[in-house]
């Protein structure tokens, strides 16, 4: 269980760690996250040297490789600004597993220091920015899938829904078994494709059954998985990263 975090006052600047999935497949979500932060008067620093948090290697058991990759990120955040990550899974890796990964090494203190500055985007927008949102979109019924890492590892099951509740025209509906995994799980989807497929099938059916025309999520792994399943079946339900959804309707 993540201990209750004491949130700092809104800072002048933050670092933004975009994550590799966003970098490669969903860069607009990353940019929309940056815009939301900038609109709150925060200067966003995007270290161009960033690549990946190392989680794929970590969860696959390749910890030497994961440590090397993580090491390459540790020096990117020299000032004491918070580090905002638009993903529950990557922020969980950096907050929880970096200290484990470097335990007993010369970088342990640095890993812990960086870990202490990691915030997931919706967490930061809600608890640090106290974000106010003026919804300019059409009335719409949507569902949200909170990633398992955001919900359990980071203890952030409510930040996304709370932000969405501030959108005047949005009706958030909850799908059955909302807390159940969508079946992505990184390399799990590749190593156990049939089990993963059964899981995403159930997830898409649950979302569809709510009558929502769209779903949002704070993790691009889940987005890729769930939206990919909807698209494969030619369903009209579209998925979007919550950063893009919030920015699109309030800008």
């Amino acid at each position: 269980m993540t201990p209750v975090k004491l949130y700092p006052p809104k800072p002048e600047k933050v670092y933004f760690f975009g994550t590799c999935l966003i970098d490669l497949f969903y860069p607009d979500a990353g940019l929309d996250g940056i815009r939301l932060l900038e609109r709150e008067g925060i200067e966003v620093i995007f270290p161009q040297g960033q690549t990946c948090c190392g989680q794929p290697a970590y969860t696959s058991g390749y910890h030497d490789e994961a440590r090397a990759v993580a090491m390459a990120q540790l020096d990117l955040f020299p000032e004491s600004w918070p580090i905002v990550v638009p993903s529950g899974s990557c922020s969980g890796m950096m907050r929880t597993h970096y200290p484990q990964l470097f335990a007993g090494t010369e970088h342990e203190a640095q890993a812990k220091e960086v870990a202490g500055r990691i915030f997931e985007l919706t967490e930061f927008l809600l608890h640090v920015c106290q974000l106010r949102l003026e919804d300019r979109g059409q009335p719409e019924k949507i569902a949200m899938h909170t990633s398992c890492s955001a919900r359990r590892e980071m203890g952030l099951g409510e930040t996304g829904p709370t932000l969405l509740a501030r959108m005047g025209q949005v009706e958030l509906v909850e799908q059955a078994r909302a807390a159940e995994c969508c079946g992505f799980g990184g390399t799990f989807a590749v190593r156990h494709p049939e089990v993963s497929a059964a899981m995403v099938e159930d997830k898409t059916q649950a979302i569809e059954a709510t009558g929502a025309t769209r779903f949002v999520t704070s993790d691009c792994g889940c987005l890729m998985n769930i939206a990919g399943r909807f698209e494969h079946q030619d369903k009209a339900i579209e998925g979007e990263h919550i950063a893009s959804y919030l920015w699109r309707r309030t800008s």
């Binding site: 269980m1 975009g18 590799c20 966003i22 970098d23 490669l24 497949f25 860069p27 607009d28 990353g30 940019l31 940056i34 995007f46 161009q48 040297g49 690549t51 990946c52 190392g54 794929p56 290697a57 970590y58 969860t59 696959s60 058991g61 390749y62 910890h63 030497d64 490789e65 090397a68 990759v69 090491m71 390459a72 398992c148 359990r152 807390a179 159940e180 995994c181 079946g183 992505f184 799980g185 990184g186 390399t187 799990f188 989807a189 590749v190 190593r191 156990h192 494709p193 049939e194 089990v195 993963s196 497929a197 059964a198 899981m199 995403v200 890729m224 998985n225 990919g228 698209e231 494969h232």
Partner: protein, 484 residues
């Protein structure tokens, strides 16, 4: 032959993928597990609603950790106190030794028929088959275990062994195997089983049970159950043999109530079970019932090896409630038999590699999306996802080598792929040009990405990476700010 009978087969962890494929393709199995797991999750949620669950879990974890911290001392105390109470204590390094000890006890009493209460440790060591070879019939008396045994299967869940079967299938099994009429009347089937088993209790020469908690302070064996078969097994036959793992010991009697509260609530969402049976000695002079001999067989089977390692040690906290499987999205989809091991689901995936080796069980630690539901509900706070990752490390040879079969999964190809990933992710310039290149070539991106695209559309790389979008965004911003 009914459908339930056709499902009779043996399962092995080596065949996890094939068994998962079969289970996923069986709508009956999928429906049975989904319904059962939904029900169990709901009941657990309700029963804990008015409890300070976190505080209770903290307490449960501290009790189990304290027991493990003092394990050798507590085992000595348990042994001494049991012996002082008249319980005979035996030690077995592995399942075969434990089977031999129990068989010899049976043979000393010229036993032909043994009645069994529920014991996963006896399943772990395949006791029934061993006794059968010696001409001793071992009959399961827990209703679920009895049904599974009639159907020549193994349990698919550690608490609810017959959870993979529905009423119609059970009716078929009871009809085929015991000759009762086919029925959907659960009370009728239960009464029939009661009648069949009561005769067997009376005729049994030896009763064999498991143990939920063994109390060092008093030399007491605690058994948790609803049916009463555990009480029958431990009180009707003249000899009682309790078999359990060496990790089941707790220090004090007062450690028991919190663990019992956590166990029943986590397992089946019950605030209490019908019976809590605490046995501290055989029948004493002047007493009129109960066994005249009580034996406790303590089995290691890899547990003392798990005990060596500070991280793996947490595996031994387990109180066998099954909540991790009830909440596991993978277990819910594929069912217990797919794992091919005595303990299925998340706890099995972190325990069985130590008992069977990683070569046999290499697909189990990866059979998890690491969603964390198991760790979240574990009543003694075992960090199951972390342990799954640890076993993945061990199987690719990047752990501490403390698990049998460590490194068995390492292939040159996969190791090279991760080295490649490492190189790219530690060379930002190459990473950026790689991302840019992927974007430019997105039209050429394969629409088939192996298994992913059998069920999902493959994502296409974006035209421009976030690195590029941010550069452009910052340039535009700078330009705007230059303007008056």
């Amino acid at each position: 032959m009914s459908s339930a009978r056709e499902s009779v087969q043996t399962y092995t962890p080596r065949e996890f993928h094939r068994q998962a494929h079969d289970a996923l393709g069986n709508p009956q199995i999928r429906a049975n597990f989904r319904r059962a797991m939904d029900g169990l999750m709901g009941k657990r949620r309700d029963v804990f609603s008015d409890w300070d669950l976190e505080t209770l879990r903290e307490l449960g974890a501290s009790i189990r950790l304290r027991a493990l911290a003092k394990l050798p001392d507590l085992l000595e105390r348990l042994e001494a106190n049991c012996q002082a109470n008249g319980i005979q204590v035996h030690w077995a390094e592995n399942g075969d030794e434990a089977c031999r000890i129990i068989r010899e006890i049976c043979q000393r009493h010229d036993a032909k028929a043994v009645i069994k209460g529920k014991s996963m440790v006896s399943e772990e060591m395949h006791l029934n088959a061993h006794l059968e070879e010696a001409g001793i019939v071992a009959l399961e008396s827990d209703l679920g275990e009895y049904l599974v045994q009639l159907n020549e299967q193994t349990p698919s869940h550690i608490i609810m062994p017959a959870i993979h079967l529905n009423t119609d299938e059970i009716s078929d099994i009871m009809h085929d195997k015991t000759g009762i009429e086919r029925t959907r009347d659960v009370d009728y089937m239960t009464a029939a089983a009661r009648a069949q088993l009561r005769e067997r209790f009376m005729a049994a020469d030896v009763g064999i049970s498991g143990v939920n908690f063994a109390v060092a302070e008093t030399g007491t064996l605690c058994l948790v159950e609803n049916e009463g078969n555990g009480r029958m097994t431990t009180a009707v036959p003249p000899v009682h043999v309790a078999v359990t793992g060496i990790e089941k010991v707790v220090e004090h009697l007062r450690d028991v109530p919190p663990l019992y509260a956590l166990l029943t609530r986590s397992a089946t969402g019950q605030h209490v079970t019908t019976y809590f049976n605490m046995i501290s000695s055989p029948r004493k002079p002047g007493e009129h019932d109960g066994p005249k001999e009580v034996h406790l067989v303590l089995v290691d089977s890899g547990r003392s090896n798990i005990y060596q390692d500070n991280e793996l040690l947490d595996t031994l906290r387990c109180i066998r409630c099954g909540a991790c499987m009830n909440h596991c999205p993978v277990y819910t989809r594929v069912g217990g038999h797919t794992y091919g091991t005595t303990y299925p689901g998340p706890i099995g995936s972190i325990l069985m590699p130590h008992m069977m080796g990683l070569e046999e069980t290499k697909d189990l630690p990866t059979a998890s999306s690491l969603c964390g539901a198991c760790g979240e509900v574990c009543p003694v706070k075992i960090p199951i996802p972390d342990l799954l990752v640890r076993l993945r490390r061990e199987s690719v040879g990047e752990g501490r080598g403390n698990v049998p079969g460590a490194g068995v999964k390492r292939t040159r190809k996969e190791a090279a792929a991760w080295k490649g990933f490492q190189w790219l992710a530690t060379h930002p310039t190459a990473w950026r040009s790689g991302a840019a290149l992927a974007g430019k070539l997105r039209a050429l991106a394969p629409s088939k990405l192996g298994p992913w695209t059998e069920y999902r559309t493959a994502p296409k790389p974006a035209k421009k990476s976030l690195h590029e979008l941010v550069k452009r965004h910052q340039a535009e911003k700078a330009k705007r700010e230059e303007r008056p």
